[in-house]
């Protein structure tokens, strides 16, 4: 009887640790999803891989850090400042570096984006040095204890997941219900036809970059709140992972970015916990490859017919 109780306790503990890994995965996945939304929107509209997106996230992190730690602004204001800075940065980059290349081949745009990414990383390194800054969490919530203290959920986890859901719901509504959102859809479908219908193509593209960059700022703050070290290359790996998430879910699709991000985050955390901590990246990337080989346009991607 006593032994049975022990086994049961053991099973409960295992279950609880599984749930906590799952929740951490959901939280990381939500961050990936928020960043992936920016990737996917920009790709949908400008048909370019914005490699600098991850670095905008890093800029968002640093801005929030400065606003909060050095200037002592309250948290909501710091978040707002970070979003505004990233939005302006995103629009500026688009205007200076990407807009002139809109008619050029996709490789030149890709290389330019890489150039912008180097530029942001090195600027950050000049200003803040390569030494990591320790980011203090922006989430004032206390950890929630469940199941008699066996399961602890950190405030960051809850806030990240909730934020992500709100953002995705908001974006879907924005795109389907507002005129600007419909304009985005129209531009991503056919730029020429959209121009003829009186859509302001340049404005719409700027708006897309603005939204994507603002989301990157939020993603950066959430990421740094959960993993509190901030360096000039903080955005690089999450950027690539978010890009993978966007492709996994079907690039150009907003629900796809959400699904892809969540799958990626959960997979990464579970692989780290149960298979091998060293091979988690390899496992995540293998899943991407398998999915793309089975469904080349991603999980929720649209099938594009090829014209002869």
């Amino acid at each position: 009887m006593y032994k049975k109780q022990l086994v049961r306790n053991d099973e409960v503990a295992k279950m609880m640790s599984f749930i906590s890994y799952l929740l951490n995965g959901l939280s990381l996945g939500s961050v990936y999803a928020i960043i992936a939304l920016g990737y996917t929107m920009v790709y949908g509209i400008a048909k370019m891989l914005n490699f600098a997106h991850g670095d905008i996230l890093m800029v968002g992190g640093y801005t929030a850090f400065i606003a909060f730690n050095s200037l002592g602004l309250p948290i909501p204001v710091a978040i707002l400042v970070s979003m505004v800075v990233c939005t302006l940065l995103g629009i500026t980059i688009e205007k200076i570096a990407y807009k002139p290349l809109r008619q050029a081949n996709s490789l030149s745009v890709l290389i330019t984006a890489i150039g912008v990414s180097y530029l942001l990383q090195n600027l950050a390194q000049l200003i803040f040095s390569a030494n990591p800054k320790s980011f203090s969490s922006f989430v004032p919530l206390k950890p929630v204890k469940l199941a008699g203290g066996q399961l602890t959920i950190s405030g960051e986890t809850i806030v990240t997941i909730v934020t992500c859901i709100i953002i995705v719901a908001g974006l879907v509504t924005f795109i389907n219900k507002t005129k600007a959102g419909q304009a985005m859809l129209a531009v991503s479908e056919d730029k020429g036809a959209a121009t003829l219908m009186g859509v302001d193509v340049n404005g719409t593209i700027s708006l897309t970059f603005a939204i994507g960059s603002a989301l990157a700022a939020i993603g950066g703050i959430l990421l740094c709140s959960a993993y509190p070290t901030l360096t000039p290359t903080t955005g690089a790996m999450p950027g690539i992972k978010a890009f993978v998430a966007a492709v996994l879910g079907g690039i150009g699709s907003i629900p796809g970015a959400f699904v892809g991000g969540i799958i990626l985050g959960v997979l990464e955390n579970l692989a780290k916990a149960y298979i091998s901590s060293k091979l988690s990246d390899a496992i995540v990337f293998s899943v991407l490859i398998i999915v793309l080989l089975v469904k080349p346009t991603g999980i929720l991607g649209k099938k594009i017919m090829e014209k002869v």
């Binding site: 891989l49 008619q103 890489i114 150039g115 000049l126 991407l288 080989l293």
Partner: protein, 359 residues
């Protein structure tokens, strides 16, 4: 008609000779400078990496320029070439095999192993197109780097042992551990030197330039330009794309072997075998001109030297590099910039002709 073909062939021959000539002249100049001692130790240390990056740029140009597919995982093939060749050299280090022979076989092993993986990866991957192909090759590159980082390999009396856990799991009975996970391989013999690098570069150039101007190369380019049209005249698109991809992987493997034997310790870091390196090679290819083999070599050399030449500016050098990169891309690819550039050029031309007329 025949004359035109002949003239075309002569033109290609001349262009190829110029490419070889540039490499050989560069070699002679550098050798002379070394003989007379007019060369800094910093520059001396860069000579083999320059050859390595040139080889890699040529390799990637075969995929990006000639085959028309965007690959972001070439550092992965370089990684395979580096580790397989270094493992061979470590195994044979105390076997008494002549050093030249051992290094030659190491390079061949690097090339063949990388080609094998290129072939394996190419079969599924080349079904995808454009950006999807790019992300999958990037993923493969990262997987390779990740696996190599976790790999333990050792040899004892009972034969080879592998493990992805740690050195304890190898269950070794004496013997030596060659690949130690994240610590990689230490003690690789330093067989690479500038002369060998240049010889390898010349061989690679010879192979690639001949391939491009062969029937196979023209088939690959035809598929790049219009896959459906090429298939309708009976070209097997998958076969030719796979061929180009495999050869490219083999060349990247050669570059990796050269790289590995230039360092005494070899580790799979994000810096040397991660996607950053793949992107760096892609930058060489794009800056040199997509499909232009000579351009790839020149771009690889210039862009590797640029940060070193800017070393005096210390912290600002990578910043300047980034600005140069963006500026170059805008200058060469943005229609509005090209127009502006042409207008400036035109005004210079007009001025010079004006001057002549006044005389």
């Amino acid at each position: 008609m025949m004359d035109r073909v002949k003239a075309e062939k002569q033109k290609i021959f001349r262009s190829n000779m110029i490419t070889f000539g540039i490499v050989i002249i560069a070699y002679i100049v550098v050798e002379l400078m070394m003989q007379t001692g007019n060369i800094s130790s910093l520059f001396k240390g860069l000579l083999v990496p320059l050859c390595t990056y040139s080889i890699l740029a040529v390799s990637l140009n075969l995929v990006v320029g000639i085959s028309g597919e965007l690959s972001l995982g070439h550092a992965g093939f370089m990684c395979i070439g580096a580790f397989s060749s270094a493992t061979w050299s470590m195994l044979m280090k105390s076997s008494g095999m002549p050093e030249g022979m051992r290094f030659f076989i190491a390079i061949v092993i690097g090339a063949v192993t990388a080609a094998f993986f290129g072939f394996l990866i190419g079969i599924p991957v080349l079904r995808l197109k454009g950006d999807y192909l790019a992300i999958v090759t990037l993923a493969f590159g990262e997987i390779i780097k990740n696996l190599v980082n976790a790999l333990y390999f050792g040899v004892d009396a009972n034969g080879p042992h592998f493990s992805l856990e740690d050195s304890m799991h190898l269950n070794m009975d004496g013997g030596t551990i060659i690949i130690k996970g994240a610590q990689g391989i230490t003690g690789t013999p330093k067989n690479s030197n500038f002369t060998i690098g240049i010889i390898l570069l010349l061989i690679v150039l010879f192979v690639v330039l001949n391939l491009i101007n062969s029937r196979t190369g023209r088939a690959v380019m035809a598929i790049r330009d219009n896959r459906i049209a090429a298939e309708s005249v009976g070209l097997n698109a998958t076969k030719f794309k796979l061929l180009a991809f495999t050869i490219s992987a083999a060349i990247a493997g050669i570059g990796g072997a050269l790289y590995a034997h230039n360092l005494s310790s070899l580790q799979a870091l994000p810096k040397n075998f991660g996607y950053n390196q793949s992107i760096m090679i892609l930058v060489f290819v794009v800056m040199g001109g997509i499909g232009n083999i000579r351009g790839s070599v020149i771009a690889a050399v210039v862009l590797t030297l640029l940060p070193e030449l800017l070393r005096g500016l210390s912290d600002y050098r990578m910043l300047i590099y980034a600005v140069v990169l963006i500026f170059m891309m805008l200058c060469t690819s943005a229609p509005s910039w090209i127009q502006y550039r042409d207008r400036i050029m035109m005004s210079f031309k007009l001025k010079s002709t004006d001057g002549k007329e006044n005389k």
